[in-house]
Symmetry: D2
Subunit: 170 residues, 4 copies
């Protein structure tokens, strides 16, 4: 039976120290809740940090790679999906996630938030970038949620999954 | 020899009357400058209006469709590219455009702006949405340009194409 | 209004001299019939030869590139569609073509023939590769047609387009 | 650390009874060897049968879906990757598999074999379709292997993985 997947999206080399701390913590909490972690798979920034956190906590990790091989895969990814789609793979990242968490902000992450909203997915923003919160909240108020800590983000994930489960089981 | 392509991105059914007027005018001006117009191809909103403007002015129009057939193609598209990629086709829209103009704003358009910036493309914003201007300008100040009218947008396109031509011919 | 597109698929560096001659001739004939030529866009083999033939005859050429820029674009392509999809762009090649001609045979071309058949497209095989004719004819007898010369291939394209036009206008 | 993935490709509704028996057995053997099973994910034919075999044997299953949701997911898929790419997702199926097994033959499966060969992947054919064996063996003799039973296919997978492991650890 299909397992619940939580996607953590975030920058590679441009991730801030706060983003990396949050990513690691998110990975741990996702694993502790028994969910699968999905990321963009690369050995850099948020993708690497959150996968590491999930593995330390005994979780299962999926990485959706943009290239055509696994050369740049983060060490802590269990299941590598090799897309060779470049940034078009960002749409797969969000479509495959039951809930999307944006950890930090950048051009790639912004594309993932926008694609998630386009696909009617709930997105949790965990970022110091104020302009992104104002923009995305105004764009799609019903699907954007704001968290200030990894713990708050995970509490929101739980609510969303519970709500979705109630809706689909009616 | 490859022709210059200008992409006009914008909403379908959620486009505002101002967006539609701007889109039509942009299409005319793009055609009058001898450039090819590229859009998301659907028979709706900005895609339809800007293709109509370009054809009235005798231009050539390309539409990059998300579906697997041409059923929803705008009447004024000459060349339909059928991708069957859903919203992942947004990355093709921006990669294939020498310059990207965002005409209006929505979740799909936001994804195209973000993907264009991720790919180091120049993007011209022509929209009443203030939050989007603040966000994208802060995200990528060197690649975001703001226009208040279609004419201003086209003047910026000319500058970008001239600059790019000077750079690559050095 | 949408123009008719004929796709010519074939190998890059592994194309045989016969394939290249056929590709050039196909390009000429496609242009002379007023159709748009669509190829994989690269500056190599069948893609390059058929685009050259079409331009010599005054046609319009589209190239669907696998990479994320136009560095390897064939000189005679007018409209470059930049996909960054690698070989996944092969599906776009066939979906965007009203009729597909396989000129020669190789692993990439075989994938395009198979994807075209999967999408219920008619495919004309113009190749010395006997095993491919036997296999694809057995796989999808109703959608595979065999040509021995470029002229025969073009005659088949005409029949298919006429038939399709009659069906959809009923 | 990345786990080994074996892809089993095959038809949906057009799968033969022999294909379904082979698919189920392949799934069991893949799970018993500790490998992850990857399929096209749909609730039909080979995809469904092989996922069921793997789960019965306690394995982990991944499904790469063509649509934009999980409505048609096979019951025995643990991890659903939602691509919304239509048949372009076939390229992801083969790129993500360390070894590809074609179980049966059809237009979709043929595209996967061809794409795998294009990407220099080893492909094991387990099919009653003689023309496909002749064609693909002639196209890429170094990367096509023929099996007559699921057990033979799995023995070939072991050889390929061992060989690859020796090569990359040198």
């Amino acid at each position: 039976m299909r397992k619940t997947i939580v996607g953590v999206m975030g920058a590679g080399n441009l991730a801030t120290p706060t983003d990396l701390d949050n990513a690691y913590k998110l990975g741990q909490l996702i694993a502790q809740n028994g969910w699968i972690l999905l990321t963009g798979g690369r050995k850099a920034g948020v993708m690497e940090a959150t996968s590491k956190g999930a593995k330390i906590a005994g979780g299962l990790t999926v990485g959706i790679l943009p290239g055509n091989n696994t050369d740049n895969l983060a060490d802590d990814v269990d299941i590598a999906i090799v897309t060779d789609l470049g940034n078009a793979r960002n749409n797969i990242n969000v479509l495959s996630s039951d809930v999307v968490i944006a950890c930090g902000m950048g051009t790639g992450t912004a594309s993932e938030v926008a694609l998630a909203l386009k696909n009617q997915k709930k997105v949790i923003l965990l970022t110091e970038n104020q302009e992104s919160k104002q923009f995305f909240s105004s764009l799609s108020p019903e699907n954007i949620l704001i968290a200030n800590t990894p713990e708050q983000a995970i509490a929101l994930v739980k609510q969303i999954i519970l709500q979705h489960s109630l809706t689909t089981n009616q």
